[in-house]
Symmetry: C2
Subunit: 457 residues, 2 copies
Amino acid sequence: MITEQDLGDWRRTHYSSQVNDSQIGQLTVLMGWISSKRDHGNVLFIQLRDRFGDTQIVAKKEKDLENNIFEVLKNLKEHSSIGIKGKVVGQKKSPNGVEVIPHEIKVLSVSTKSAPFLTQSVSTIGIDTRLELRALDLRRNYLQNVFRIRFTILKSVREFLTKNYFIEVNTPKMISTATEGGAALFPIFYYDKEAFLAQSPQLYKEQLTMAFENVFEIAPIFRAEPSRTNRHLSEAISIDVEKAFVNYYDIMDLLDELISYIILRIKDENPNELKNLEIELSELKIPFPRYTYSELIDKLQKNHKYIRWGDDISPKILKDVIGDGFYYIVDWPLSTKPFYVKSKGNSDIAISKPNPSFVTSENNSIMVSESFDLMYGPLELSSGSTRINNKSVLLDNMKKKGLNPAAFDYHLRIFDYGIPPHAGFGLGLERLLMALLKIENIRDATFYPRDIDRLTP
Amino acid sequence: MITEQDLGDWRRTHYSSQVNDSQIGQLTVLMGWISSKRDHGNVLFIQLRDRFGDTQIVAKKEKDLENNIFEVLKNLKEHSSIGIKGKVVGQKKSPNGVEVIPHEIKVLSVSTKSAPFLTQSVSTIGIDTRLELRALDLRRNYLQNVFRIRFTILKSVREFLTKNYFIEVNTPKMISTATEGGAALFPIFYYDKEAFLAQSPQLYKEQLTMAFENVFEIAPIFRAEPSRTNRHLSEAISIDVEKAFVNYYDIMDLLDELISYIILRIKDENPNELKNLEIELSELKIPFPRYTYSELIDKLQKNHKYIRWGDDISPKILKDVIGDGFYYIVDWPLSTKPFYVKSKGNSDIAISKPNPSFVTSENNSIMVSESFDLMYGPLELSSGSTRINNKSVLLDNMKKKGLNPAAFDYHLRIFDYGIPPHAGFGLGLERLLMALLKIENIRDATFYPRDIDRLTP
């Protein structure tokens, strides 16, 4: 049994990335966890890992008369946290040209069990087993690379939007009414009232264009998805953007540039992570292709006779007509979109020349909306639109969708005070990460996933 | 009745901040809302406000034969959103040296009602009336200044932590067990299970030090506060920081530097906002004073004989012994702190020389914790501590606090795998904003406040 020690006055002097051959002969204090261990009988090679990588620690039995370091290290399991005071010596075989000979050790936290998966392997074991020990799982190289790139995405989104005169806002997650109708809501007990978790910051970000013009929020959204798929979460991070005095075309331009910027920044900041993940991010050609909903339906009807104008388009059949990469599906039927989405054409007039396919539709409404979905192959990443900024049109639409305007009174009253024309999008952070890094299961694009079966850890 | 028009192909060519005397004689397209209007009979002076400020639009009746601009502007209420195509002309009396003569107008959104408060006044009306029209309220100069500074705080926190090798994380807000015990939780229906909204990301951020060492999260926290005060919200934004291989002293040093950095950045980025708010932020002397809980109790007991060691210290009586500004209260009784807070001294041994005041205490436990509260005058801004990273000590503490370890199994199991020593803090964004900008009511430090009485807008 090895005793754990308090940190006391020990402090790290260098991260692993700061230890190099300029320090040969000097003393260093390193801290981290044992990521691997090779036992050559009288010599132990320990990889001590910190936030930036590994440093090799070499402990020899013969030198161990005084301070017992060899014996302690020999008995410590991988994942244990330790501090090492030692001397930096040259080692040509080591990636950073050095290794460290320990003079003193501090055992900070003993791993009493053996981890059920290897740090080095991409995926050796079912995701549910990994999720049961998620914090340990997140030590794996694969996820370390994923989550460092995730951080770059967050940074670059904020950089880009700040440069483009956006202001970051936070809107309430506990709300009184459903934004998109009643489905897939989590109910809460709010003191003595019924309330819900926000499925999106939609109405709030729209309102805020009134005061701040260009707003964004990066925050959790909550959807009681009944489905078990590899691309749905019950709690996800949404990048929400809303801008005044523009329409959905401007917003698609903005989104094109945002995605391009993110990719440039990842290439710049995470070349090693991309290499480790064997991902090549090519620079993007923008604008991304924009296909109208109607032209896609036309194409799809050639091989899928049952498809009607007005139907949703399932990801599976999209593969038949579209390749990989980023593209938009624009001008969706108004009937498929939420109440706040603007219809295309002035004053809610239906489009003038209905596509022949419309005639085959059972759906009488051939109204088209100023809307888009940003896709990556079959994966929907973002939805956006021009929003209605006229109170009577909005009221009308609510009624058509079967919503009770009284429940939205707190929202509608704002429309009496000159709310500007505006448009925006919501972009799923985890979905974007999946697309960029070819992640199979969205659960590996978030730290602690939530779904119908999982509420812990 | 004035008809609203579609945005069509009109786009802003300049923000107000970009209009200046280098453009005299040129055409410009401005968009925004009417922040004020002066009617001089045959001449109208309109302040057109956008994200960056006002531009003066001057409409003369005599020039209005063709396009009716004068009549339209005359009839538009303040707050209406419009677009103006016009010519930039010199005007020495105007702050930016120019004004704009409109050639064409587009009425984008008509304000049909008169706002119940003035944009220019600091507070003319009760906060509840303002909150009922919050998006409109947020157009007020006062709140515009507050929320621009809020954005600077968010930016500077992220800059500072990123420079200090922290990574941004997101942890789930729907959780299975209470972090700090059962009080003040919002229950949720999670599919067929009972769940709660997270009061803090505490246990998750602790776990994540295992994989990422230095983590931060800026996200909503949810507390079912039964109290009606000017400093509590049911939903607030918490800046949560957790760092491996350090203790609470290191964390206080970090927090000192963070607050100093925030203030420097605000002074740099928001000189005008500070001037408008009549706030002078002086550069801070760090480290902030650190008073031990015991010495404060000693001092307080001189005038408040009923106070015992072990009691919480109420903000009101703190005024008697402490001035304004930032300071810490450190080394709180272990009994006042949550189960994950480390006791002071090795291996949970009680401090060796109890202060005489302890003897007067009814509380038998004289154990002190490695903890701090960061205060600003009587306002608590942040709480932090060294955390327990040993499983058996943690288990023991849970039992002492009456918690059921089985409910924390998902957390405890991580402690079998070498979780490093760590420490951290949670800092309330709204509280910090209150302290820095002398905001009386915390509701004005957030966009859409939530409290026991308020769930909308």
